[in-house]
């Protein structure tokens, strides 16, 4: 029963990824824009514009475009993807997988760090607010978080950059590390990386913090009203044990799913931040590929983002029963 459910669930996730690949592929295929157009437009305005060269260039680029039956093309593309081959980048002719591989660690670094920080602080503060519900400190924090949460990330990011980066010159204004350090496992490089990551991580943390805190606050208040908390108090259980085992655990459990799913979604969530801080992650890459109609790279990034989301949801689903004894997977 359980293994059958597991197989079904994994198969569903796989099909979801396939379907989204096909849809994105179709959008690309029938899009009026093409990398050739962009490239040619660029060439036309430059001083090297030579009509003959342009025509030759156009002919060359057209040979790169997929021809023949679109269904066959799609199947061929998917077949290649399944073998880990995302093709060559149209413009640079470097394998897409290689480009993504150099960008993705940077994204994972800032995204996971900020997620972790915001989650840990968020649930701590949220539980505090829940315990202090109705007091002045609770209402002040609630208002503060509500305001922070409603500021779009490109505004808060730009503000941080402007004030701390340009005005006060406390932090670098962009990049992942300083051009003067030697890349590798050495102290100056690591220091530089950490220093450059502070602003992007702070922006992402700020964006997520309010959500976790307010969510945890609501869960804590709900849990505090549960009969088992009253009964634990009546049993003389120490308030410390009640706070962790009774209130904390039960209020935290529903957040677990949100956290795992958030990890999946966060790969795509750093586009703005990476753009603002010129951070060389996958979000920045996505922005670049879209503006250049670099469709092989675009597709490659899409697939990575989609797969991350689907895997996140799948993991949340499969592992929830491990942490919550009340849920039996597959029932």
């Amino acid at each position: 029963m359980r293994s059958l459910w597991l197989i079904r669930r994994v198969a569903m996730a796989f099909i979801t990824v396939l379907v989204t690949i096909i849809i994105s592929w179709a959008l690309m295929e029938y899009s009026p824009e093409s990398p050739a157009n962009t490239l040619l437009n660029n060439l036309r305005v430059t001083e090297y514009s030579n009509p003959r060269l342009l025509i030759e260039m156009e002919q060359y680029l057209n040979t790169l475009r997929p021809h023949g039956n679109p269904v066959v093309n799609a199947l061929e593309y998917i077949w290649q993807i399944l073998h880990g081959n995302m093709g060559l980048d149209v413009i640079s002719q470097i394998p897409v997988t290689k480009i993504i591989a150099t960008a993705i660690p940077w994204t994972i670094f800032i995204v996971s760090t900020s997620l972790l920080i915001s989650f840990v602080i968020g649930i701590r503060v949220g539980q505090f607010m829940g315990y202090k519900r109705g007091t002045k400190s609770d209402s002040t924090l609630t208002m503060l978080f509500t305001v922070i949460r409603s500021i779009p990330i490109y505004i808060s990011g730009a503000l941080l950059l402007f004030i701390l980066g340009y005005q006060m010159r406390l932090f670098p204004s962009g990049g992942a590390y300083s051009a003067t350090v030697q890349v590798g496992l050495n102290l100056p490089f690591i220091e530089s990386v950490l220093y450059h990551s502070i602003l992007p991580i702070a922006t992402l943390t700020l964006a997520n913090l309010g959500g976790w805190a307010l969510h945890m606050r609501a869960n804590t208040i709900y849990t505090l009203g549960e009969d088992y908390v009253t009964y634990a108090e009546l049993r003389g259980i120490t308030s410390r044990q009640i706070e962790t085992k009774y209130v904390g655990r039960n209020a935290l459990l529903p957040l677990y799913t949100s956290l795992v799913i958030a990890i999946g979604f966060s790969f795509g969530g750093s586009v703005f931040v990476e753009q603002i801080f010129s951070y060389p992650g996958i979000g920045n890459l996505l922005y670049y590929s879209i503006t250049n109609n670099d469709y092989t790279l675009e597709m490659g990034i899409f697939i990575i983002l989609i797969t991350a989301v689907v895997i996140g949801v799948l993991l949340a689903d499969l592992t929830y029963s491990l942490i919550d004894p009340r849920v039996k997977t597959g029932d």
Binding site: E226, D227, T230, E233, L234, G236, Q241, K245, N250, P325
Partner: protein
């Protein structure tokens, strides 16, 4: 009251619920004694204040609820209302008085195994897990559960009746002398009810545990208890021996309660409809539903009058002397 040991004595206990500056009385001047070794029934309907009474004794009244006046609550000679909350938690809860919650509530933490609830209770009172394990298993066995199997289960894996038995076992963990049970069998099937009531009777008889049993079910109170206290609108209407109250209740409200419960074996001729209505705020609280009223019932508030060492709050018994005089 000197020869018989008193398990619990409550004097002048009042509780109000404060909403938007207005106090609504939940309990008014509650005074009663529970003797050591008896099963003391508190019966009342919704809104009578019976659960508030349990919470007040256990010092768990939370805002908007407040205890007013200067009540005195003694449990086996110890003044449990004047001591610090910390001392009460450490020394009194579960070691002298314990509690069994309503069966319909989800009183067990769904993320913890059954045995962990026993461990938590013990460690909070300075007793180690190892020392308490055997006692916990023994108690589970006593309430007719398979100890080793149930100990490692989670609450949702047990039926309602089994969970209720776990709660009873848990209440006995630190050898309390007095157990307060609040609607402990109400949501259970009739057959399960009887099993659990028999367990409670047995605990009372063999271990001498004093039980305060709060219920709205008169048949259950009749089956289980030795003494009954009838509450209405936060006030004591009558206190007396169970047998007498069931057969010949004094207070008109008790009379109507007894006659509103049909029997499955006895005669049904005495079954009678009670007039519906809300408690009165002026005079006797029952004057809106009572069939034996006179003018005074609408003007003055009746005292508790003593009749043959029982008590009744009704002007029809005013020739008897008021309690405490």
């Amino acid at each position: 009251m000197s020869e018989i040991n008193t398990a619990l004595s409550v004097e002048d206990l009042s509780v109000v619920y404060r909403t938007q500056g207005v106090d609504i009385a939940a309990l008014k001047d509650i005074t009663f004694n529970v003797n050591d070794g008896e099963i003391f029934g508190i019966i009342g309907e919704s809104g009578s204040g019976k659960s508030t009474l349990a919470k007040a004794i256990l010092r768990n009244i939370k805002p908007p609820g407040f205890i007013t006046g200067e009540p005195r609550i003694f449990c086996y000679g110890r003044n449990i209302i004047s001591m610090s909350q910390r001392e009460f938690r450490e020394k009194i809860l579960w070691q002298l008085i314990s509690y069994v919650p309503q069966s319909s509530l989800n009183s067990l933490n769904g993320t913890m195994r059954i045995i962990d609830h026993f461990y938590d209770t013990a460690t909070s009172h300075g007793i180690s897990k190892e020392k308490i394990r055997e006692k916990a298993l023994e108690l589970l066995k006593m309430v007719r559960l398979e100890p080793e199997k149930v100990a490692v289960m989670y609450p949702h894996q047990l039926s309602g009746g089994m969970r209720q038995r776990v709660l009873i076992a848990l209440s006995l963990l630190l050898n309390p002398k007095l157990v307060i049970m609040d609607e402990a069998v109400s949501a259970l099937d009739v057959a399960t009810q009887k099993h659990i009531l028999d367990i409670i009777k047995d605990l009372n008889k063999s271990m001498g545990i004093t039980v305060i049993f709060i219920t709205h079910d008169i048949a259950i109170a009749a089956y289980l208890t030795h003494t009954i206290m009838v509450l209405y609108a936060g006030e004591i209407m009558e206190i007396g021996k169970t047998e007498r109250i069931i057969k010949s209740p004094y207070h008109p409200y008790s009379v109507s309660l007894m006659s509103s419960v049909p029997s499955i074996r006895g005669s049904l001729e005495g079954v009678r409809v009670v007039k519906e209505g809300y408690p009165s705020r002026v005079g006797c609280p029952f004057n809106t539903r009572c069939e034996y009223t006179s003018d005074i019932c609408f003007k003055n508030h009746p005292e508790l009058y003593e009749i043959n060492s029982d008590y009744v709050r009704c002007f029809n018994y005013a020739t008897n002397k008021p309690k405490g005089s």
